[in-house]
């Protein structure tokens, strides 16, 4: 108890890439999708290895926070901190997750998802 050093070292290490920050600048749902422009990828070259990889991943097609974490082999919480930074710095654009309120908006989305499933 209270040992500063976990033998497996996995308490601190995951957050080393965020310099220890565990709180994202904004909450990002796990399924929210992110897109990087080509200009953003160029900018991310100077933002560090992890952020550059994330930008490259999100340039050809939109990727969810979950996909970014999985492809980057980063824990979800770490990916969320990095992605929130990149959104704040204009390197990623955040697209909305499903609407949570409003009958018409929710029903429209359900109808689109239903027709998409039927076409599978």
């Amino acid at each position: 108890m209270g040992q500063p050093h976990d033998p497996r070292g996995n308490l601190v290490r995951p957050y080393a890439v965020t310099r220890g920050r565990t709180e994202p600048r904004r909450d990002i749902p796990i399924e929210a999708v992110l897109v990087a422009s080509q200009a953003a990828v160029q900018e991310a070259r100077f933002a560090g290895h992890d952020k550059y990889r994330i930008a490259v991943l999100c340039e050809p097609r939109a990727q969810s926070l979950a996909e970014i974490a999985a492809y980057s082999r980063l824990p979800l919480g770490v990916a969320r901190v990095l992605v929130a930074d990149m959104v704040a710095d204009g390197m990623l654009s955040l697209h909305s997750a499903a609407p949570k309120e409003g009958f018409t908006e929710r029903m429209d989305l359900l109808e689109r998802v239903l027709s998409g499933l039927r076409k599978l």
Binding site: A66, A98, P99, F103, L109, V113, L114, G116
Partner: protein, 206 residues
């Protein structure tokens, strides 16, 4: 009026909407198999690292000192249009990670609780969870080869599934069967939404 500016607006990148459906159930019930049957990508795994300071760990003695636990969730993707993506998230199998379920169901369209008829009691905890949430869900009986077959009504009674919760049979390996499960989830979500609207008490999801 500047009509040219509205023409230019059409060239701006489209806003993309993502939706998710949650696939819940006990450990080894076939959640990842179900996701893989319809996903356009091999199911991916995302991991959340929890510490003893993390919220929602129901029994701190299971996480002594400052040890961490990794909670893994498998998920898949279906790109339905250039502005619409559906994600399918499997819940962590271990039922003590309820806090992770809370994050997964937030904003979800609905959920399917997958039940293995050979280990029916494994479904009690996931069903209890959804009974107390404002999320439309259905129960899907995964019919493994050689699994004891029950009539759906026997299972409904054994698991005390409420009459308004749909119950369907499926084969988690079969694409068409899984498609029917997901169609069932969305149709149930639509019925629930309409019923809420008619009662005049629209409740936000999650």
């Amino acid at each position: 009026m500047d009509f040219a500016s509205s023409e230019r607006a059409g060239a701006q990148p489209k806003e993309i909407t993502s939706a998710k459906i949650v696939v819940a159930g006990g450990f080894g019930v076939g959640k990842t198999t179900l996701v893989g049957a319809v996903s356009e990508i091999e199911p991916l795994t995302t991991e959340a690292v929890m510490t003893s300071a993390g919220q929602g760990i129901d029994d701190a003695s299971k996480v002594p000192g400052k040890e961490t636990t990794t909670v893994a969730m498998d998920f898949g993707r279906i790109t339905m249009a250039d502005d619409l993506i559906l994600y399918l998230f499997g819940t962590p199998g271990q039922t003590r990670f309820w806090f992770m379920w809370d994050e997964l169901i937030r904003g979800a369209v609905g959920a399917a609780v997958l039940v293995d008829t050979r280990r029916i009691s494994d479904a009690f905890a996931p069903l209890d969870y959804f009974e107390n949430r404002h999320l439309p869900y259905l129960v899907a009986l995964n019919c493994f080869d050689g699994a004891p077959r029950y009539e759906p009504e026997e299972v409904r009674e054994a698991l005390a599934i409420a009459p308004q919760v749909p119950l369907i049979m499926c084969d988690a390996r079969n694409r068409d069967s899984v498609k029917q499960v997901l169609v069932g989830v969305v149709e149930h979500a639509m019925r629930t939404l309409v019923a809420e609207q008619e009662r005049g008490f629209p409740t936000p999801v999650g």
